[in-house]
């Protein structure tokens, strides 16, 4: 059977223990995990959603810019990190399953290994009071 790269396994294990919302994508941009804190923010647990492709997760939760316009997929920090292998940061809004909008700061960084890029992690930090899915 195929096996996830160890770096992704360890990243998932770490993320599982964090109260900060965090997303994990593999080298192909497939969303392979997000943690409980991210599930609270999005209004849907990862176990309910499962693994989704890059085009799908890019549209599931918005995201929107500060003017409320959809952000092109290619400009999302997680996509930049996984494609270009460099960190990326942005302020944006995401919509949760109930339609509520949440302002968040997003920092994404690539998971680079001896065998090249294995994916990327994005950490979300809610910036507006009351929107915080973290730390609960």
């Amino acid at each position: 059977m195929s096996q996830r790269p160890l770096e992704l396994i360890l990243a998932r294990n770490l993320m599982s223990a964090l109260s900060t919302p965090a997303f994990l994508v593999d080298e192909g941009g497939l969303l392979v995990f997000y943690n409980e804190a991210a599930g609270i923010l999005l209004g849907k647990r990862f176990e309910e959603l499962g693994t989704v492709g890059p085009a799908e997760w890019g549209s599931l939760f918005g995201p929107f810019d500060e003017a409320g316009k959809p952000i092109p997929y290619d400009e999302l920090p997680l996509v930049i990190a996984v494609r270009s292998g460099r960190p990326a940061h942005a302020n944006l809004e995401i919509s949760s399953a109930d339609g509520a909008r949440h302002s968040v700061e997003v920092s994404a960084f690539p998971i680079l290994t001896a065998h090249g890029s294995q994916g990327a992690i994005a950490v979300f930090w809610p910036t507006a009071p009351g929107n915080n899915g973290a730390g609960r």
């Binding site: 195929s2 996830r4 160890l6 770096e7 396994i9 360890l10 998932r12 599982s16 001896a114």
Partner: protein, 293 residues
């Protein structure tokens, strides 16, 4: 494929009257393939005895290192074949972004830690980073994959004919993970061990000891049992015994392991603690243990 345990201890050699039966030498497993090729898995102090057993025979030897912690390389400079000009030794190990395998091993095989330098070894020795893809040694196909431990660490799978050996002596797959619930492809080392005829796996701690050693890179008994159950290995040998564990303590741990394994639906013969000089004959769908010598 014939497997012999030459060193089952973890961390530091632990000779003494209280460790006679399970042994005090650190990690080393000898594997004789069906075509007669010899592999050494790790080069802890147990490799000294392995070397004495083959010293009279000019040979080509492959040493597969899981990682470079001292308890896995300490025996290299006491490995008799390394001092035989007729011997060709290939040492395989994990790559690191920091330095080559040769340079990292040379930090140990050099002054002031060693009386000899790598370049002074009389044998023909070469160092190779394990490839990502499967490769062949003799009649076996070898696969290496990174596993959860501290620092770059590999586990190995050796397939020879219809039998297979998985060797993951230093492994903490349960760090931050629930092995009983996690999807299989998210379990460190799973693909190496899946359905193996024999799994040699880290079992350093009793469950009550683990909380004090979280993140040290080793498994508690519960983790080893879960890993063995999930991977479906035919037979499991727990390995890398803690240096503080006496024979009597390990007897108790083995009893507990077997009772819990039976409770999980296995047979008591399906799991045991590795004892130095223990031998296993691996053939298709059967693994038999030879008497301890």
């Amino acid at each position: 494929m014939r497997v012999k345990l030459w060193g089952t201890r973890g961390s530091i050699p632990s000779p003494g009257p209280e460790t006679i039966r399970y042994g005090g030498n650190t990690s080393c497993v000898g594997v004789t393939l069906s075509d007669g090729s010899l592999l050494a898995l790790d080069a802890g102090t147990g490799i000294r005895s392995l070397g004495l057993a083959v010293a009279e025979k000019p040979a080509r030897l492959n040493i597969l290192l899981t990682h470079l912690h001292l308890d896995h390389i300490q025996g290299l400079v006491f490995f008799a074949p390394a001092f035989c000009p007729q011997t060709e030794i290939v040492i395989w190990g994990p790559a690191s972004p920091e330095a080559s395998l040769r340079d990292r091993i040379a930090r140990y095989i050099s002054a002031p830690l060693s009386p000899v330098e790598v370049r002074e070894l009389p044998c023909e020795v070469s160092f190779r980073h394990c490839p990502e893809s499967e490769w062949e040694i003799g009649s076996a196909r070898i696969r290496a994959a990174s596993v959860a431990h501290r620092g770059p660490t590999l586990g190995y799978r050796i397939d020879d004919g219809d039998s297979s050996l998985a060797y993951i002596p230093d492994h903490e797959p349960a760090l931050g993970a629930d092995l009983d619930r996690l999807e299989k492809d998210w379990i460190s080392g799973f693909a190496l061990a899946q359905g193996a005829s024999l799994l040699i796996h880290d079992g350093q701690y009793a469950d009550h000891e683990y909380p004090g050693h979280l993140g040290w890179g080793h498994s508690a008994l519960s983790h080893a049992l879960s890993f063995a159950r999930r991977t479906g290995a035919e037979r499991t040998v727990l390995f890398h015994h803690d240096p503080l564990h006496s024979d009597d303590f390990l007897d108790g741990l083995q009893r507990e392991a077997q009772e819990r394994w039976v409770a999980l639906g296995g047979s008591a013969e399906g799991i045991e603690l590795g004892a130095e000089r223990g031998e296993y004959e691996l053939s298709a769908r059967t693994v038999s243990a030879a008497a301890l010598s």
